[in-house]
Amino acid sequence: MKSRRSKVSIESIMVMLLMIAFSIAVSLMITQGSQIFKQSIDNKEEDENLRIAMSYINMRIKQNDYADKINLESNVIEGLSAIVIEHIDEEEGFRSYIYYDDNYLYECYTDEIPTKEISTQIIDSNGIRFEERIDKNQLVIYYSQRRGQDMIELEQIITLRSN
């Protein structure tokens, strides 16, 4: 009995190799593409969160910049330091407490003692730190940003225009 030898031309093998190469390339492309997609969306979300946090704090301060009414106080809520804005006129007696805790920026607007339960979450954030430079009448806010593997801080200086 003759052993069956199927004739396999080299051309078919080459074509199959080409198919395999193509499929490997496509799968690589899909994996990388999905990574870029995810990275892009994460970057965009972080950018937006930073922009919202900066914008919110800036607006609160600019809209309520009266003399001696904006201060940085430590140990306000659960040992956290917060920017305290005292309101005047129609909102007399009320205070806004802006603080950062556990990945979120919070604001507490009340005329009683501030607690975490009555605070509202503003936006999530990697890290926000406050500092006061009294001699220059400035409030400094540090936003933590992810850059590669580590975090760097973006410093924003707000000079209070009122005395």
Partner: protein
């Protein structure tokens, strides 16, 4: 015709087209996201730019006001030196003079008197001109009234005012084309018709 549909030839092309559509959707979605991100960053930049410009105009107004106050202070001192006025208290003369001058020039001034002290407040509001939702900068200035016991030189060299408030505000966006619904309870006190 039906045989062509059943023959399943060229099914690869359909798969290719479907795959193409899916890829394009992904690509377009991520591009739209990035473009919106860039546009928001641009918006923030433009807002801050306009705000700082507005602050520049405010500083100009402050400078003009300061000039007026200094002029009035000088006039107060010279008037009292030349004894053109009967009153003794320099601060009284100064207050009267400055209120009259500022009100003549269109500034909003108010004098708050209590037993302990007098407070002279000027209120300035500067508005953006060419914008749909203009930004306003409201300045509350407390004019400093130096003590009568100070010498004339100290009176002139004393600070003119303090900024008691420097606030920015904008009218909230008004939705012009809001949907208006008919009020289903238009006549709440109308007696219902009862069929007897």
């Amino acid at each position: 015709m039906i045989r062509m549909l059943r023959s399943e030839r060229g099914s690869t092309s359909i798969l290719v087209v479907i795959f193409m559509i899916v890829l394009m959707i992904f690509g377009l979605s991520i591009l739209t996201t990035s473009i919106s991100n860039t546009r928001l960053a641009e918006k923030k930049r433009v807002w801050l730019s306009e705000y700082y410009l507005l602050e520049g105009y405010t500083a100009r107004e402050l400078a003009m006001l300061d000039n007026i106050i200094t002029k009035n202070k000088n006039e107060t001192v010279t008037d009292l030196e030349n004894s053109l006025i009967d009153e003794d208290a320099r601060s009284q003369v100064y207050i009267k003079k400055i209120i009259e001058d500022l009100e003549n020039q269109g500034y909003w001034v108010s004098l708050l008197e209590s037993e302990l002290e007098k407070e002279l407040v000027v209120y300035l509001e500067i508005k953006e001109n060419d914008s749909e939702i203009p930004k306003h900068l409201s300045l509350d200035l407390k004019l400093i009234i130096p003590d009568d016991l100070l010498s004339d030189d100290d009176f002139l060299n004393n600070a003119n005012f303090e900024i008691a408030g420097h606030t920015e505000w904008q009218k909230p966006f008004d939705f012009e084309e809001s949907i208006k619904f008919e009020d289903p309870f238009e006549n709440p006190f109308e007696e219902p018709i009862v069929n007897e």
